[in-house]
């Protein structure tokens, strides 16, 4: 026989103003099973909680219903309180008579009647509540970081410095990401390589970091604290352990005319290559598509010249399984490519800008390579078509971004600042040149950012034109830029030597496929979604997975580094305990009933349903039944509503509990 205690809160006057709390308490005391009912001004306060605890002990209460605010507000508070006097926390329920009653109704009679009914429902429900033990799961104190750009590097270093092992996976042959491609960085104009490469070396030499470059995530199994990640280490054709990084293979390779992707196709590279001279690890990769040996079976020059014998044409992809407890996703971004109009994509191409057919129309990242001292031009600003120094350069902002017509409505955030930086770099290198910028708005919030932007105009003589460009076309060796200056309301035509487009920041291609492997959600642009836009900006809704950098949304370097350190801090918090406690709201299979149809497995978004063999004493297989892994189950209950034989139950939301509430109506 249950002895239920009902506690009605006045919430100051928030509830008692419209609900007759004394009447609710006296009515509730008459409900079958209720042993004690009372009301109090502030139930969540210390004296209020003491009142509940005292009543539980004095009246030997078996269940508790607190009628107060939303359970989203104080369920944890009251469950903790009853736990302190020896009651299982899941035998305490809250009736929401504030947000769902007193605050939304004015009529006192109606509100009181509704409050009584709500309490009645919860009293019936709580009778069916069962003792639920807290579930603890072990924590593997190793982290996986996906992506070796500045976000991944920062997160990996922070976690490794805290004493935990980190596995870093990078898709490209070298870590470094986009930051390694930049020439100088705003707002201080320090050289990107100078601040980036020491971090790359730190990472490679860190005793707690295992680095898998030229590798991709194949599969992710498990759950918070206990992930099993399968990594595909692509065949490099070079033995990492033997290679000394002397680079003689690259100097001897006969294939020398392959466009260098790292240099945005401005320069060329060999078939055996490192993406850039400061690459970490400094171990080349054979590009099998372009290698003569792989194409024709004849060549092997690199193998002949390699002293340590590191070249291995027969190397195969290998799969490595790494157990980790937490995952930081830092896959970064790529720039919107105006040359393509992907099939079926809502994003429209830029026909008015020549669809990328004009060679001297380049994007911001290409300009970075031109300006970079280690770039294909050695830091000279020379235009791609004829190698001449451009004397008039037009920069166009918001190409793709903030354009609902083109399919991307968000602001790419970094372009205003990097365009200002580009005008400065250009002015430093071409003293008699003139930079023009077409812009919609200058969005330069950030420490020392506005000052930087103003400096571009006031000291570095960039001409900013507020307005957009309607058309670009080639005329002789010039590009005619037709635009408007809306601040004075005139049409503008500039004959430019070079046009630089600040194209939109987009998530990496394949971001959605990776998200599906990880079981995290993404928005319509395929940026990964954080659990809460303001209060949980680095956590994913999927427990144990954290976000860092531009894979979550456009971000500049300072923001990326901050978020990466924040993600690392979250991982360290998780690793501070040996075991993890989680709410026991999980599904359980009634094995006697289960017929093994596995309809539940089909609807489970978490892959929590496994197969279990039921055997008799002789060991003969009787049947296969479903088993829900309590570590993986997220507690949505979709399996229970789907099960045709009603063999699976979600603890805390059993059919019994729900039907009891409906019957109380």
């Amino acid at each position: 026989m249950s002895r239920i205690g009902v506690f009605i809160c006045h919430c100051g006057e928030n509830i008692s103003r419209t609900v007759d709390v004394e009447l609710v308490a006296s009515t509730a005391s008459q409900f079958p099973g209720v042993a004690f009912a009372t009301d109090y001004k502030y139930m969540c306060s210390d004296p209020g909680q003491s009142l509940i605890k005292k009543a539980v002990s004095e009246h030997r209460l078996t269940h508790v219903v607190v009628a107060a605010c939303s359970p989203r507000m104080h369920e944890r508070t009251f469950r903790k309180a009853v736990e302190q006097v020896g009651l299982n926390p899941f035998l305490c329920e809250m009736a929401n008579i504030r947000e769902h009653c007193s605050w939304v109704h004015e009529d006192r009679e109606e509100a009181t009647q509704k409050a009584i009914e709500i309490v009645g429902m919860l009293v019936e429900r709580v009778k069916k509540n069962r003792v639920l033990p807290t579930i603890t799961v072990p924590v593997t104190k190793r982290a996986l970081v996906i992506g070796g750009g500045i976000a991944g590097i920062q997160a990996a270093l922070d976690i490794a410095d805290a004493g935990h092992q980190v596995v870093l996976v990078e898709r490209e042959p070298s870590i470094g990401g986009h930051m390694a491609q930049l020439s100088e960085t705003f707002p201080t104009l320090d050289c990107s390589q100078c601040i980036m490469t020491p971090k790359m070396v730190d990472l490679a030499n860190h005793p707690n970091i295992i680095m898998h470059t030229y590798s991709e995530i194949e599969q992710v199994d498990g759950y918070i604290g206990n992930f099993q990640v399968t990594i595909r280490k692509k065949a490099r054709s070079v033995d990492e352990n033997k290679c000394t990084g002397c680079g003689i293979c690259m100097t001897k390779c006969p294939q020398k005319k392959i466009p260098n992707i790292f240099d945005r196709n401005l320069g060329t590279r060999t078939a055996i290559y490192v993406p850039f001279p400061q690459a970490v690890p400094n171990v080349p990769v054979i590009d099998r598509e372009n290698c003569t040996m792989f194409k024709t079976g004849k060549c092997g020059v690199c193998q002949k010249v390699c002293g340590p014998g590191a070249i291995d044409f027969n190397q195969q992809d290998t799969l490595i399984v790494e157990p980790v407890g937490a995952i930081v996703v830092a896959t970064g971004f790529e720039l919107y490519d105006i040359t393509e109009k992907p099939k079926g994509s809502p994003i429209k191409g830029y026909g008015e800008f020549g669809h990328g057919k004009i060679p001297d129309v380049i994007d911001g990242l290409t300009f970075e390579r031109l300006a970079s001292a280690s770039g294909p031009t050695g830091g000279k600003i020379l235009r791609p078509s004829d190698g001449k120094e451009p004397k008039q350069v037009v920069f166009i902002q918001c190409v793709g971004s903030r354009s609902r017509e083109k399919g991307i409505s968000y602001c790419s955030k970094i372009c205003c600042m990097y365009t200002a930086k580009h005008t400065m770099l250009y002015h430093h290198k071409v003293h008699d040149g003139q930079a023009y910028v077409f812009f919609m708005d200058a969005r330069v919030p950030g420490k020392s950012y506005d000052e930087f932007w103003r400096r571009a105009i006031e000291e570095e003589e960039a001409v900013y034109i507020r307005g957009m460009v309607s058309r670009l076309y080639q005329k002789g060796d010039k590009i005619v830029v037709m635009g408007s200056d809306i601040s004075v309301g005139v049409q503008v035509e500039i004959e430019a030597d070079l046009v630089v487009l600040a194209t939109a920041v987009q998530p990496r291609k394949g971001a959605d496929a990776l998200a599906q492997k990880l079981g995290i959600s993404y928005d319509k642009y395929h940026f990964y979604s954080e659990a809460h836009a303001k209060l949980k900006p680095v956590e994913c809704a999927t427990a144990g997975i954290y976000l860092a950098g531009a894979c979550q949304g456009p971000k500049d370097i300072p923001d990326t580094v901050s978020q990466a350190s924040a993600a690392a801090a979250k991982v360290m918090t998780l690793f501070s305990k040996d075991k993890l406690e989680r709410e026991p709201i999980v599904a359980r299979v009634k094995e006697n009933n289960c017929v093994g149809c596995f309809a539940c497995r089909k609807v489970c978004a978490y892959g929590a349903v496994e197969e279990k063999e039921i055997r008799d004493r002789q060991g003969n297989l009787i049947k296969m039944v479903a088993y829900v892994n309590p570590g993986v189950c997220a507690g949505c209950g979709t399996c229970q509503a789907t099960c045709p034989s009603k063999s699976v139950e979600l603890d805390g939301y059993t059919d019994e509990q729900i039907v009891a509430m409906i019957e109380a109506l």
Binding site: S70, R72, E99, E106, G635, L665
Partner: protein, 166 residues
């Protein structure tokens, strides 16, 4: 401020099955924003709309509910990745069944209300309440349930005829 509320002859009973992450939170927001709506609705909280078994709807009608609301996260926003999609499919099929057995589908509302949509919650609840009010009480299921309780079985003349024919 206090306008005299019109007294109605019939106050429908509305049961809302909602998910805890979106619609329950949206209803909380309506409260914190002090919006007003009819007091006819009783909210049952579920982790996800995917947990809502159609049997609960039948059960609620048997218990005298006049209108039913099912509401969860918007498509794509499910806290449990895809629970709301399963719910949507399930109720698309279930509606057909209810229609077949003669339930007026205007008594059932399926909607998406996010945690940020307190106003939408108020609109949905108000609309459903007023709509069901004009439709009058839903008695068929309740009568059936009562009959079943009293007689231990269904015993209408129509059914009797069918049994005998068999």
């Amino acid at each position: 401020m206090h306008t005299e509320k019109p007294k109605h002859d019939f106050e429908p009973k509305i049961i809302a099955f909602v998910c805890t992450w979106c619609t329950y939170a949206g209803a909380d927001l309506a409260g914190t924003s002090r919006m007003q709506y009819p007091a006819n609705v009783r909210v049952l909280k579920f982790p996800c709309t995917g947990r809502i078994d159609p049997v609960f709807i039948i059960k609620a009608f048997q218990q005298g509910a006049d209108g039913i609301l099912i509401s969860g996260c918007h498509p794509g926003d499910c806290h449990y990745i895809s629970g709301n999609y399963h719910a949507r499919r399930r109720f698309a099929a279930f509606r057909k069944l209810l229609e077949f057995i003669g339930v007026d589908l205007n008594r059932i509302q399926f909607s998406w209300v996010s945690a940020a949509e307190g106003g939408k919650w108020v609109d949905v609840v108000t609309d459903l309440t007023e709509r069901v009010r004009t439709m009058g009480p839903m008695v068929e299921f309740k009568d059936l349930a009562l009959e079943e309780q009293w007689s231990g079985g269904l015993n209408s003349p129509d059914l009797q005829e069918i049994y005998e024919a068999m």
